[in-house]
Symmetry: C2
Subunit: 494 residues, 2 copies
Amino acid sequence: MWSRCTRTRSELYKHVLLNLEYQRRCSSFASFPGEPVGPSLQTPVPGPKTKRLLADLNKIQQANSTQIFVNYDKSIGNYIVDADDNVFLDTFTQISSIPLGYNHPELLKLFENEHNLKSLINRPALGVFPGDDWPKKLSNIMSLVAPKGLHHLNTMMCGACANENAFKHAFMAYQRRTRGNDDFSTEEQTSCGFNTPPGSPHLAIMSFQHAFHGRTLGTLSTTRSKYIQKIDIPAFDWPAAPFPAYKYPLEENESYNQNEDNRCLEQVEDLMEQWSKKGIPVAGVILEPIQSEGGDNHASADFFRNLQSICKKHNAAFIMDEVQTGGGPTGRFWCHEYFDLESPPDIVTFSKKMQLGGYFFNEDMKPRQPYRTFNTWMGDPGKVIMLESILNIILRDNLLQLVRETGDYMKDHLNNLEKEFSPLIHSTRGRGTFLAVTAKTPELRDDIINRLRNKGVICGGSHPQTLRLRTSLTFTKAHADIFLDKLLQVLKEF
Amino acid sequence: MWSRCTRTRSELYKHVLLNLEYQRRCSSFASFPGEPVGPSLQTPVPGPKTKRLLADLNKIQQANSTQIFVNYDKSIGNYIVDADDNVFLDTFTQISSIPLGYNHPELLKLFENEHNLKSLINRPALGVFPGDDWPKKLSNIMSLVAPKGLHHLNTMMCGACANENAFKHAFMAYQRRTRGNDDFSTEEQTSCGFNTPPGSPHLAIMSFQHAFHGRTLGTLSTTRSKYIQKIDIPAFDWPAAPFPAYKYPLEENESYNQNEDNRCLEQVEDLMEQWSKKGIPVAGVILEPIQSEGGDNHASADFFRNLQSICKKHNAAFIMDEVQTGGGPTGRFWCHEYFDLESPPDIVTFSKKMQLGGYFFNEDMKPRQPYRTFNTWMGDPGKVIMLESILNIILRDNLLQLVRETGDYMKDHLNNLEKEFSPLIHSTRGRGTFLAVTAKTPELRDDIINRLRNKGVICGGSHPQTLRLRTSLTFTKAHADIFLDKLLQVLKEF
């Protein structure tokens, strides 16, 4: 292992190389069968085939966000292979949505089972004609990973749809509490057909600056991370509270960061009162345990506990968006477990590593009538089959412990690198392998990512100058060493 | 075949029974291998196992919309088998989303192919890391079924997400035309972070009364079919135009129905001007070729052509929502093909029978910058593998012709039944097998559906008193005869 910040760069470099084989041999976690020993490039990136494919795809759709075209047949474990046969170590895993790595042998076997295959092929309208194994499937997932205290679960197709429906539950519950019941007046029933009150009430969901919750029109009204996502699209008049902007290292900035918490919480209350006075009361507050697309912004457990109290005081649902943090990358299955909340969140939404969208919720949030939360598919049993298997593997293989160990290891060494290469990178932060550093400028961040890619490492960015790691849960110290080695090489180039 | 309206009920009944074997023998379309010869019930519906499963599911979620729990292993072709071993003829097919029937042998083989299996298991973020076969997959789907004149395609997860994104394309195109370019001002870039103009402009999507376009907050603001879908949920201030309410039979009510067209089109123009004066100009108009959830409401080709002209005049995108009509059930692949529009719609959205959501669009609707239409998954290659196979089977087996033949046959006989049993049912209407009749009252409609179910036929309703058929594309005259026979039995009970 690297010792903390006592070696020279060349010593570090040499050590990493020596360490690779050692890590591979002695890891307590079985390495991924068939994984290459490291990245290898055949062409500059993007290569000639990738360029041709991009030209083809651009004829069909606006495709300039494409980074590489992937050969998913050849990709394996934590390595992704592109159309030009370049082999990359993947620390971004499809925007954090590949939990076990590529082509996990157990997932490849799932649909050899005839029942599973038939569940996949015959896609039901789950709200009307669920399979006879559906209650058991859901109850199994609940028993494996339901957030403590939440006993209800709805599945959806994706994270945005999970959040859209979470908002609807919050609105319905708020109106039920306000009205005292669900006996809708004729005026309510009629006016909602014309999108006007009282049937379509003026209610708000509060979110935070730099938040990301999705890009459908409801969730987009709570997303605040980049203008390109929102510009030209109508939005609801909903408030955006400031999110704490911490200074790092945390231990050296306690008082500053506490003030940040207080400043933001005061604004939350102010905005709630402002919007209430405008006649658009806040029915729910949504936030990520770690603001992910917005730059990997963290807040203290105290911040979350106090925010929950404010929500209770104002009768607003407290919604944790665990779309990116859920499923284990922070070292606990749900990131909000780190906050020791006084009571469970009202709703916890998920997607990505979970293979499909959905949300856990409490009794208060459960609709009293059918068809209030409904759509044709309401999720997908084919994805739930994968989810069930993934959850069993995570638990059986103790992958959360691996995430914590690999994460601590990487965080230590990122801290070393930020000291060595100050001020190029700073503010190392994160939980588990859900780690980030900030580059001096947005341009430098992009440059680092590009250079890493040209050394065989796929890495993610987030707004505005963050480099973020979103590895699979099977990412070991051996993989970490390769990443750290390449990052070291890149930083030495500046 | 039944002759038109010259037989007594008992003759009709006898004839249907005799006809069953004949139909099965002489159909030019191969019947579904392994299908039962007809429905068979073991218990009243819902049976005891179904009741127990419903109690289980209600502990986890609000599940009272559930009709039956299905054994998808035993279900086959146009027959669905429930947890109590009841065998039903399915004329509703998961709200119109099973194109070829259950457990089609060719779909069951798809994931024996290793490449297909790996495409399914390794779910990519298609906007960043698509598979190297993705451009070819999309281009293949385009060449098979793209609506005439539309050369661009985006995939999404579901119909609501397809419509949400269609709206966004309409807004972006409208703003680009208004601004003259996509050079966003600093004020636009900043203000959209707070959901305020000019970055988040006040723009509207017009829809029609009784329309259904989805239940996420953007699409829900255009959905107008039932209050239970909308009540308590905030909505955008967007206009709802009246949709023609035709009298049937069409040939006896030409002048009345033409007046309906004119009345509604006048209202469309009025509302466009009203909303423009309010400062919320209409950037797009969305409608279904046949209003499906809202009661199977049809409008003439003239209505659609004139509406498209009005959209052009007012600079609003013309969006056809083919989520329920697309994929062949009307006897053409896209229902709007029946309207001989002067030019293609700007956007055509789809889902259901297509296995995943998406939309075809023209050059004007194509975003000029990346990341404006984006989300983590952007569709699902696993579903596109199924879609590609389904489209090839539809074309190879000439299933649209089967739909037209079966549909014409059923429509003739529904017309006979409505005359025989007037005024219990009336207003037989539809294209292909996308057929409907109206019951005298909502209660009678529900009663008919329940009695049909207890005779082994699953049938759909739509608002407020419509009985709708949404069969698979492999539904033959033999299946039609069973349905007609059971409906005859039910109508005789009143």
